[in-house]
Amino acid sequence: MTAAITPRERRRTSGFRAGPQPEGRPSLWRRIADASLPYQLLTFAVFAAAWELYAREWGGLLIPTFIETVEATAELLGSAELWQAMYVSNQALVLGFGIAVVVGVPSGIVLGRFRTLERFADVYLNILLVTPMAAIIPLLVMSVGFGLTSRVILVTIFSIVMVVVNSRAGVRQVDPSLIEMARSFGASERQIWSRILLPGALPAIMTGIRLGVGRAVTGMVLVELLMVSTAMGGLILEYRGLFKAPLLYGTIVIILAEALLLISVARWCERRLTRWAQTTTARSA
């Protein structure tokens, strides 16, 4: 099981000596050195400087400098073309991900509750988890063409596995003694579902939805880059064809920003809804 890095209390395992130590309030420098933000900014500055230098020295036509990329990104954000492309891309994202949640959560719950069904579905879920979905894009295009439908289907296929697997894990991880407890108080099957199973599974379901968002964005970009050259992916390919390197890089920056923004929103929702629990479900990102 993988776990995400979460801010945690640091163990001080090194960097001190036993024995008497002078005491005092940590100095300003000490507090700056202990915070994370300065290091993050430093990393970014080093990265930007290295990029700028590399591009200036060896760049040429294909590699823009950092500054050119920033300018191009700003330019793109002000252009109608980008927002048009964004709208088209996200149509597929919203529809496809919506279907994944609506279909995936109930399927996962059913699989988690009914072992027999799950035993047979299991092998396929595992194959789906490791299979590079991009390879089925050609089949999709053959069957439903280059339109919105094939992009929606691909986004759904990309994200639904995460949703199903985590919902299933969520139902399964509910403590059986809680169900027994509810039965002992005379709870009906319906009450067990609404009072015990679903609330208990919620954190894992939310984890699945968050991971699903990430996969959905990946699917959206992938299909546009590999087969259906429209919208955001289309912009990338177009700028690449025209050797407009700064605009190409700018588009990539914007796609990354959108992906991270969506994932952050999903994470925020997850935290809001599941504050009582530290979820321990599959985090296979």
């Binding site: 595992n126 490791v130 991270l260």
Partner: protein, 272 residues
């Protein structure tokens, strides 16, 4: 892949008597049923994009005999091996540094996380412009897919080494190096291997996606070309090969994992 392990535990945890058909291994049965359904639907539907399994298998055999599959598979496996080796080396080093030194984590953590969740293929055009149209770009895509999950798991594994073990080692006068090599790394191995297992799955995905985007070598190129010809049987045939590569990779990592973490009691294996 934690689900796989969870499965195994759930199954062994219920050894009670079951009806005879239930005692059959579910996976092969389920696969056989799926194959039959594929064949049947393929024949009944009669559409070009969903040929029956037999057609796909015949095509696969053809491709195997004329050598197309093997040369591409060789290319792909080379991309995979190189990319994964780089991911493993860089991922373990970075992960250990992040897990051990707070400042390294402060500097890199947020970026590693962002790159883990971001759609990795959008970097392909960048690699394309920097490394050119060739193997280098594909390997870079593989690294982009596989490395970050290894970093995150390694860092998190090092951080969750029980504090009392580290304290114990220090009480016996262990040096920083001894603590790292003799206590932290062995203790972190199970979780690191979980990350490596995820990494190999992602590396296969990266390999195919990279090869499809930079269609010059490998299985991905065959998929792209077959897709362009509307040759669905070939696409599916290659897809079967790709699934085999992915499952083979995961199985390989699992074998290595079992060998080096043999000390874990069987009962708690499922927890991972």
């Amino acid at each position: 892949m934690s689900t796989l392990a969870g499965q195994r535990r759930a199954r062994t945890a219920h050894p009670r008597r079951q009806p005879s058909w239930r005692r059959l291994p579910a996976a092969p049965l389920s696969l056989a049923a799926g194959a039959a359904a594929w064949e049947l639907i393929g024949h009944l539907a009669g559409v070009s994009f969903f040929p029956p399994l037999s057609t796909v298998l015949v095509r696969l055999a053809d491709m195997a005999f004329n050598g197309v599959i093997f040369s591409s598979l060789g290319d792909s496996l080379l991309n995979l091996a190189l990319g994964f080796a780089i991911s493993l080396a860089a991922g373990l080093l970075t992960g250990v540094a992040m897990g051990r030194y707070r400042r390294v984590e402060a500097a890199l953590g947020v970026y590693v996380y962002a790159l883990l969740t971001a759609p990795s293929l959008v970097f392909a055009p960048i690699f394309f412009s920097v490394l050119g149209e060739g193997r280098g770009s594909i390997i870079a895509v593989v690294v982009m897919y596989a490395m970050f999950v290894i970093i995150i798991n390694t860092a998190s594994a090092i951080q969750s080494v029980p504090a009392h073990l580290v304290e114990m080692a220090r009480s016996y006068g262990a040096s920083e190096r001894q603590v790292l090599l003799r206590v932290m790394l062995p203790a972190a191995t199970p979780m690191i291997m979980a990350g490596v297992r995820l990494g190999i799955g992602r590396a296969v995905t990266g390999m195919i996606n990279g090869e499809m985007f930079i269609a010059v070598v490998g299985l991905g190129r065959i998929v792209t070309e077959a897709g362009g010809r509307f040759d669905s049987a070939s696409v599916l045939a290659v897809l079967l090969v790709i699934i085999a590569v992915a499952l083979g990779g995961v199985a390989l990592v699992q074998i290595v994992d079992r060998r080096i973490t043999r000390w874990i009691p069987k009962t708690s294996r499922g927890d991972r």
